[in-house]
Symmetry: C2
Subunit: 379 residues, 2 copies
């Protein structure tokens, strides 16, 4: 057998779905997971349980792999550099990944290559936040820890110098950003391989609830064609300039005055690309595997006029399986994707995809199913 | 977690692809495999290595499962009855599965419910074969061992009483059948759940080479609508009358005079249904899982006008992975499904699916990819 071994660091749902996508390609999939119960560890054959913050663990894991890639951005950059120095194929590599790990580095780099971002700078204390506010339209200001934030964690919207104290308590660098007056959030998902091939998925609309992605509509409805093209080109350019290998999600603000500004970057399969599992010719997970192996990429075009993804969050009712009866009987075309996670209120435990020609219908079906699984819809 | 455990007996590619289809449903998948290297054992987390012919092994395996189902038909019927007596949910159950295990039982039952089959009877020796030939149009006659045959194994087409000696050498019961003057082979795939819901996939054309399935076209081109409907109804009726739970493949001969006759039955996901992974709204594997769990079934309708599956057989060249570069670059829409098996000449090691609006193009793409992977096409 000459089929390669892809090692993925992190046992979350992205690794679970990457494994699922790798099975038909016949590749071997090896997982470094925090616990044997993690989402991906439940379904992968070759699981190493260990701490991704420990370099020796990473080195030992990497020895059994032809390439290593990531379920999350939390592996210390210096460990990734050490692995690269050992000769391990790390994809995306640390020089790229640091831009998804450190928002300060990311903003500086995007400024340097002329990609439009919200007004921003690193701030040192609440007074400095007030100064930053004064340089623009005043409060509110968005404050973010430069490392470690996701899904609304590590992000504060502050209305005064008093409120600006909280983010500094952890003693980590803080980035201030203008609160963008956006019409909606978009995401441009692209995949790039080491030899430079890249594909762009259609730009999607991403709706957040409480800082957490709730609904993704592919493609983004009523999006001006020029703006869509500009967003795709911007994502392709970021992937190239930053040397990204694998999936890159560029989260964008669409402003009232018709611009797109980069909000966040993620260098791994991303929630805004889950629709592609059932709505695109090649899913983001399949293309991520192909990219890290430097295989030719698959066609990213949609298979349906509209595809909608709605996240399933944990609610008060722990038994989601019993909801399958209703959801599947009501909608025989529904696509359920559950992660094997215990239900905790607000935790992402799965998502549903629906597709079709009528956006209202597709949206209603996805929302109904996700709400019924969560327990907020009971009929 | 209230999600059930589905146990599958047999570690072949059907179990591998059933696991893949089960991952998004969040179910737990447990495998009884002959070896840790079997196709499915490579990708499943919870693998028991053991002998499916041993009742104690089966009993121990079944204790950890909410339902057990099968990758193949080789588990002894009496063991399945013992498991059922223990209270295990065996799906399909032995009373159904025996019809896919024993061609004599199958023919007798189909006769009893009035389903058209080739002329047939159990024969006792070569002279009896000659008598059977004489009762019809003479030689050639098809002889089959009633148990254990597949992919052309255990099947002989004999032209004389002398040639008829071979099948009797093993000392097992032999079924004689007329050699049907067929136009082509079709397959009607249906899925049925314990509470009686059933879905029918479009009837497909199945082309064999050397007794082994080579190409499947979905739906069967130029198939008379009435005949297609009759074939689907026949398969649904067989599923109901025999009490099948899960996937049922009914392999059919389309005769020159416009009839369909049942050739074989398989009660598991089937090679003639692999196209559904990329060509149907719900794949046969996903619907098999849903059926054995008594969940509502998914929509079996096609997503594309034409879907073609071509099997990848082992050739002289063992390194199929290096062929990925050419195949993926040539056709970004190609769907490769490899089974993790070592390449041996003639062995089914994978399949490819293609889909689109132009059948000639879809056929050419699938044939090219399968031939290139096998090594019979080199440009």
């Amino acid at each position: 057998m000459t089929f390669p071994v892809v090692g993925m660091v992190g046992g979350g749902q992205l690794a679970r779905m990457t494994h699922e996508a790798g099975i038909p390609l016949g590749i071997r999939f090896k997982l470094l997971s925090d616990t044997p119960q993690d989402s991906a560890a439940q379904v992968v054959n070759d699981v190493v349980v260990g701490d991704y913050r420990d370099l020796d663990t990473l080195r030992e894991f990497a020895r059994g792999c032809d390439v290593i890639t990531f379920d999350h951005e939390h592996v210390p950059t210096e460990h990734l550099r050490a692995l690269e120095a050992d000769g391990v194929a790390v994809r995306p590599g640390p020089d790229a990944l640091v831009h998804a790990q450190d928002k300060g580095v990311m903003r500086a780099r995007l400024d340097a290559i002329g990609v439009p971002c919200p007004r921003h700078r690193i701030v040192s204390d609440p007074q400095d936040v007030a100064a930053f506010a004064g340089e623009g339209d005043g409060f509110p200001v968005v404050l973010k820890t430069v490392r470690g934030g996701y899904d609304g964690k590590g992000v504060w919207v502050v209305d005064s110098v008093e409120e600006a104290a909280e983010p500094f308590r952890a003693g980590v660098p803080v980035l201030a950003e203008e609160k963008v007056d956006f019409v909606r959030e978009l995401a441009a998902n692209v995949v790039r391989s080491p030899h430079g091939q890249a594909v762009a998925y259609p730009v999607v609309e991403s709706r957040q609830v409480g800082g957490v992605c709730d609904t993704v509509i592919a493609p983004a409805p009523d999006l001006d064609e020029d703006l869509a093209l500009r967003a795709e080109e911007m994502a392709l350019r970021i992937a190239k300039e930053l040397g990204v290998v694998g999936h890159l999600a560029v989260e964008l603000f669409q402003t009232r005055d018709g611009r797109v500004l980069v909000n966040e970057l993620a260098m791994r399969p991303h929630n805004s690309g889950h629709w592609s599992q059932d709505g695109a010719i090649t899913s983001q997970f399949s293309n991520h595997v192909r990219a890290v192996l430097d295989l030719p990429l698959g066609d990213p075009r949609p298979r349906a006029k509209w595809t909608v993804m709605v996240n399933v969050l944990g609610g008060d009712y722990p038994d989601m399986y019993s909801a399958y009866l209703h959801c599947m009987a009501r909608d025989p075309q529904l696509k359920i994707h559950m992660y094997g996670k215990d239900v905790k209120p607000g935790r992402k435990v799965g998502h549903v995809n629906t597709y079709g020609d009528d956006l209202d219908d597709v949206l209603e079906r996805a929302r109904h199913a996700a709400g019924y699984l969560r327990g907020t819809i009971t009929e």
